[in-house]
């Protein structure tokens, strides 16, 4: 049964390091919001930090990097189908948005509402 197993006798250090790294990455992604990065810088930083965090959780905390290939493939291959779903829905979404603007006369870029304007500056 236990081939690669009894795998958890990794030194405690790797867990602590990954833990620390997740803290740092979370702080960085919060900093993206706090420092008000916008546009392409914002999106790419958010995505990079997200993927790094997800990767470390799956690989180390969930021990996937120490599993055998048959199990890894079973877990990671099916979600690839989801990327198609995302792709289809993005293209569909853009079409629906264009239709709403072009044929229903809805605004192309509505002015966003600040919370302080609704609730008053102090609440």
């Amino acid at each position: 049964m236990e081939t690669h197993a009894d795998q958890n006798h990794h030194p405690i250090g790797i867990y602590l390091k990954v833990w620390l790294l997740l803290f740092v990455l979370s702080t960085l992604s919060y900093a993206v919001d706090y420092l008000e990065f916008q546009g392409i810088t914002r999106w790419s930083l958010i995505i990079i930090f997200m993927l790094l965090k997800a990767g470390f959780i799956i690989a180390v905390f969930m021990h996937l990097m120490w599993e055998r290939m048959a199990l890894i493939a079973t877990i990671l291959a099916p979600p690839i189908a989801l990327l198609f779903l995302v792709g289809f829905m993005v293209s569909e979404g853009l079409n629906v948005f264009d239709a709403r603007v072009e044929y229903f006369g809805q605004p192309e870029s509505a002015t966003r509402i600040h919370v302080s304007d609704v609730l008053g500056v102090k609440h």
Binding site: M1, T3, I46, F61, L82, V86
Partner: protein, 223 residues
């Protein structure tokens, strides 16, 4: 590239061996394989939610509320954007760390440490849910509903309650799961067969809950 090159890599050789031999394919305890399959299916559910969110966010012509303002909190006289969500993120990551410790000590059969690390993990999980309750009641008191809100697109409320509600449900179930397993560990239930696999399986579920939060945090709160 000859087929020999591919076959020589250790991983692909094992892959072929596991699938071609007339025997068990996954060399892990069945409970662990089943938990992984459940988590793969749960991945599909959460992705459907997030894709639904992506779609309404793309298609709505109403202004999307500023998440960092909606989830801002006044702390020590400063108005901090998104601070509650950041704290919730840290709490959940910390709980993942303590869970990893519990799994590690389960391999050394250190019952006391396993129990305490699982109990701490459950405590952080409960803290997370408590903060989510606070966040929900704050937003509800400000008039955010699944069908509308004063800050912009009505879809914001539907997505918020659905996605964080479903995730919070997962965390709550996880807390109960952790407490049950932790108390069984303490009572020595798993010593009878000297089988502590359940701790690792519970850990997989718990890390998955943390993993889902990583995506919700990025796409819903930061986007």
């Amino acid at each position: 590239m000859s087929s020999l090159d591919i076959a020589e890599s250790k991983n692909s050789q094992e892959f072929v061996e596991d699938w071609s031999a007339d025997k068990q394919t996954y060399h892990v305890p069945w409970g662990k394989a089943m938990m992984w399959l459940f988590l793969v299916s749960d991945t599909f559910i959460f992705t459907c939610f997030l894709v639904g969110y992506l779609n309404v966010r793309r298609t709505t012509t109403d202004p999307w509320p500023y998440p960092s303002e909606v989830f801002a909190l006044e702390l020590f006289g400063h108005n901090l954007p998104l601070i509650l969500i950041a704290i919730m993120t840290f709490v959940l990551i910390t709980s993942s760390g303590t869970m990893a410790m519990a799994v590690r000590y389960a391999h050394f059969r250190d019952k006391k440490k396993v129990f305490w690390f699982m109990a701490i993990t459950a405590f952080f999980g409960a803290t997370f849910v408590g903060m989510q309750v606070f966040e929900w009641s704050k937003l509800i008191s400000e008039g955010v509903r699944p069908w509308g809100n004063p800050f912009g697109a009505p879809q914001f409320g539907s997505i918020f309650f659905m996605v964080t509600g479903f995730h919070g449900l997962h965390v709550s179930i996880g807390v109960i799961y952790l407490l049950i397993v932790a108390s069984k560990v303490r009572r020595g239930h798993y010593d009878k067969k000297d089988n502590y696999e359940i701790v690792e399986i519970t850990g997989l579920y718990w890390h998955f809950v943390d993993l889902v939060w990583v995506f919700i945090f990025a796409f819903f709160y930061l986007w």
